[in-house]
Symmetry: C2
Subunit: 154 residues, 2 copies
DNA sequence: TTTCTACATTAGAATAGTTCTAATTATTAG
DNA sequence: CTAATAATTAGAACTATTCTAATGTAGAAA
């Protein structure tokens, strides 16, 4: 199963989004980078490098784990992917570039995106003393999902 | 240098706070646990297990790193200490039990506490869909401190 | 088109941080 | 005091990631 991109804006148009962003920073668009990016954005979850490696190998069987790490590092530098740190253990990667929070489901181990209104985000950022210049804010919930009659996802 | 406890309430009174909390969960108060807790709460920072190990050894030279890890795990389970995950790499430990956010200073690598008004926290929690039951919320800023004429800390 | 150069990929070694194991020691209960 | 239980310890094992050094690739210069 495949998903459409999260949102269509001038700066997020899946195809050639990558080479575009890479070009901007003097980095090359390579088959490995394209596939890692495409596989990551094709599913709305937060895989580890290892999990992504397994998915990517289906399309490019000779890619190495080191390359997956290298590609992810590149994508993070280009701001095409976010790192999310929900647990000790493996880093997770998020392809959703919209401002959002994460909810870590302690029962299943899954991390899902939670929309967060710009006004709430502004409220949060306003708590910082004037001379603290935040470049990013991460909001992480931990808890459980009360399954009375739950639609599979939001 | 030593600091007073962050705040005095019925459930946070430094001395015997520990044995009190431990008793509640059927755990023993031991010299190692007492010292790890006391050393951690005596400084307002967010040390790694290794850093804390170094500090604790000054008072108890034969304590082992494994024990520091064990004690920290116990303290986290008792809700006397919070884990904070600001970077890939070593876990950090926070002795401040008040609801607060963290600011990771990318220049210095230091993580400091930022007070966060209850109303803002409530705002943040309100963004969750009804069937998501959050047990905790973590807010982490990353950025730099604009040092025009900065007092050493807040 | 060949050559030069810089960049990217790769396998495997090395590293860092943490957890596990098995032996010893300490505390509590009977 | 003895037995049972829990905690500590040193070191081995483990996991995730980064590093190293060799090889591959692709565009730019000639
Ligand atoms: Mn993590
Ligand atoms: Mn971390
Ligand atoms: Zn996400
Ligand atoms: Zn803190």
């Amino acid at each position: 199963m495949s998903f459409p991109p999260f949102h269509m804006t001038a700066s997020n148009m899946n195809t050639d989004n990558l080479s575009h962003h890479l070009a901007g920073t003097g980095l090359r668009s390579t088959p490995q980078r394209e596939i890692v990016y495409s596989v990551l954005t094709s599913k709305r979850d937060h895989p580890t490098a290892d999990e992504l490696f397994a998915r990517v190998k289906q399309q490019m069987p000779n890619i190495s784990l080191a390359t997956v790490y290298n590609c992810l590092e590149t994508l993070v530098q280009c701001n095409l992917v976010r790192q999310v740190n929900v647990e000790r253990g493996a880093m997770r990667y998020c392809p959703n570039l919209h401002p959002h929070a994460h909810f870590f489901n302690e029962t299943t181990g899954e991390t899902i995106d939670v929309e967060i209104p710009a006004e709430v985000l502004a409220q949060v950022s306003s708590v910082l003393p004037k001379h603290f210049k935040a470049k990013s804010v991460e909001i992480l919930f931990r808890g459980v999902v009360d399954n009375q009659n739950t639609p599979t996802s939001l």
